[in-house]
């Protein structure tokens, strides 16, 4: 983790997607879309339902593969064939359903599927866990992000929606070395809890990550995003700097009016 700091300090594009095209049978979900995300900025990916934003992030996070087009990380063309591939490449995704394990603690959730363990010559599943180290790092990260949990060692089952969201976002920050993708991170939250998550996103950005944010909330877009890309029916229909003044323009672009 420590060796990646110099990557985050540059503002060159971390992620470049060019000519992205994806078909599902007869449906053209993405049609020759270009996007870029730079270190230290939040890119808002906007669009109505079915516009192609979910397809786009699923292709970047390895759930789907592009039919045509190219994904470059730090300028290097990279094939992302699985979620595991994406994470190895430094891309973390906070899924809309959070992908948290209710029966595990925050630290167990943080490291699920990539536990710190020994000895290295065994396959991962047969190794022994370094539980204390995982707990230590988790506590550090939660502390750094100012996420306060009443019982950090309890399972996430009993946590509130906002705390769960915070744990999921914090998990992404532990491992993100290049890019964090958040899919509607505030959709299910109350005002105060959403606030907390927005602060977390800002912090992620300030730590030098490129952040791609999918949301329907225009207030959040103008507050956080330094660029917004609007998709409609699989095509990119606009890219602009979102401000309070052009909020209306953004909304018209999204709905195509």
């Amino acid at each position: 983790m420590s060796g990646s700091m110099e990557l985050k300090s540059s503002s060159a594009p971390v992620l470049t997607v060019q000519h992205a095209t994806k078909r599902f049978g007869p449906v053209l979900a993405l049609d020759d879309v270009d996007i870029q995300a730079c270190a230290g900025e939040v890119l808002a990916l906007l669009g109505d339902n079915g516009a192609g934003k979910s397809t786009m992030i699923k292709c970047i996070s390895g759930v789907h593969q592009l039919d045509e087009g190219e994904i470059c990380l730090n300028g290097v063309p990279t094939a992302i064939r699985s979620p595991g591939n994406a994470r190895e490449a430094g891309i973390e995704t906070v899924y809309q359903d959070l992908a948290l394990f209710d029966n595990l603690t925050p630290s167990q959730n943080f490291y699920a599927g990539r536990e710190l363990s020994y000895p290295a010559w065994l396959p991962l599943g047969l190794r022994f866990m370094k539980s204390r180290e995982m707990e230590r790092v988790t506590a550090e990260v939660l502390n750094r992000l100012r996420v306060i949990l009443p019982k950090p060692d309890a399972t996430v089952a009993l946590m509130s929606g906002g705390q769960r969201q915070a744990v999921a976002v914090a998990r992404a920050t532990v491992f993100a070395r290049k890019l964090v993708i958040l899919d509607e991170p505030t959709a299910a939250l109350g005002l105060r809890e959403a606030r907390k998550v927005l602060d977390l996103i800002a912090q992620l950005r300030d730590e030098g990550n490129a952040v791609i944010l999918i949301t329907h909330n225009m207030e959040h877009v103008t507050e956080l995003a330094s660029r917004a890309i609007v998709l409609r029916q699989g095509r990119k229909v606009g890219e602009l700097l979102p401000t309070k003044e052009n909020q209306q323009e953004l909304v018209s672009m999204i709905v195509g009016a």
């Binding site: 899924y95 394990f101 209710d102 699920a112 599927g113 599943g125 022994f128």
Partner: protein, 314 residues
């Protein structure tokens, strides 16, 4: 703590109801009768942790004892006989897991029900439907004898329990087992090899049935296709009564052990109190319903608590 308290209460009440209950001889009886259920229940527990179920354990155990008896006809080596039983059990378990995963079956219920029938049939076929007497002395000692004054089966139960404790709590594999049981979709998203975790759980459940076969064959000095009847019921009941959750991802090896002892104690008490064997089945069934219902209730309450807590923090 619930199940332990219930078990202690049960023991206190029963010691008043029957003067024989707390005699060393009866306790020894309970332990050796419980050992088979305990070992197989520990395997069942792993499967239930992944939201699955293994209905084949009883038939699997019967087949393993028959295989062991057949191997004993060609070799005197106790090691070979033990190995044959354990491998036979593990093989059936591996088939369960592989067909479930790679056959993309909607639920393990179906495949393990099928292997229950298949294993039973093969066991009957191989043995001609009869018990096959004779087991090496080593196996008789493990299953029914004592070592240093302690029932041999107790060493097996404790050894397996300790091994499983380490595997479940300290190994990455154990963490994955809980993750797969807690939320299978998320386990896929997090890159956990869900298929192999599932196959390993069913294989280990089969291995445990094979070890249970060694104990039972040792205790009875025979292999028989009729062994293990309703063992799936006893082991599933033990895991759930012990306090693990049918909904997956919750429970530990202690639950399987406590549950097995409870089943053993209930069975033993019903015998001491001269309750007839038909009625025992009814009692065990009712206890299972109560245990499953309390599990559902527990999860429901937990959900309610979460809503309340979330509401308070708004």
């Amino acid at each position: 703590m619930g199940p332990v308290a219930i078990l202690l209460l049960l023991i206190v009440v029963l010691s008043f109801l029957s003067p024989y209950f707390l005699t060393p001889r009866n306790i020894g009886n309970i332990l050796s009768q419980t050992a088979v259920i305990a070992v197989v229940a520990m395997g069942q527990h792993l499967v239930i942790l992944t939201r699955g179920i293994d209905l084949s354990v009883g038939a699997n155990l019967a087949l393993a004892t028959v295989v062991g008896a057949l191997v004993f006809q060609v070799t005197d080596s106790a090691l070979m006989v033990v190995l044959a039983m354990v491998v036979s059990g593990g093989f059936v378990g591996f088939i369960n897991g592989s067909v479930y995963v790679f056959g993309r079956l909607p639920h393990p219920f179906i495949i393990t029900l099928a292997t229950l029938s298949i294993a039973k049939g093969v066991a009957l076929e191989l043995s001609g439907g009869r018990a096959m007497p004779g087991m090496p002395e080593f196996i008789r000692t493990i299953g029914g004898g004592t070592v240093l004054g302690v029932p041999g089966s107790l060493f097996v139960v404790v050894g397996i329990a300790m091994l499983m404790l380490v595997m479940a709590r300290n190994m990455v594999w154990g963490r994955w087992l809980y993750a797969v049981g807690g939320r299978p979709e998320a386990a896929v998203q997090m890159g956990i090899p869900v298929k192999w975790v599932l196959i390993s759980a069913y294989t280990i459940s089969g291995l445990c049935a094979g070890i249970g076969a060694v104990l039972l064959a040792g205790r009875t000095d025979a292999g028989s296709p009729l062994f293990g009847n309703l063992l799936e019921l006893d082991t599933i009941a033990a895991v759930i009564i012990g306090g693990a959750s049918f909904l997956g991802g919750r429970g530990h090896i202690g639950h399987a052990l406590i549950g097995a002892v409870m089943i053993g104690v209930i069975r033993n008490a019903l015998n001491l109190l001269n309750v007839d064997i038909f009625f025992q089945l009814i009692v065990i069934g009712v206890v299972i319903v109560l245990a499953v219902e309390s599990d559902v209730l527990r999860n429901h309450l937990e959900g309610r608590m979460r809503v309340l807590q979330a509401a308070r923090q708004q």
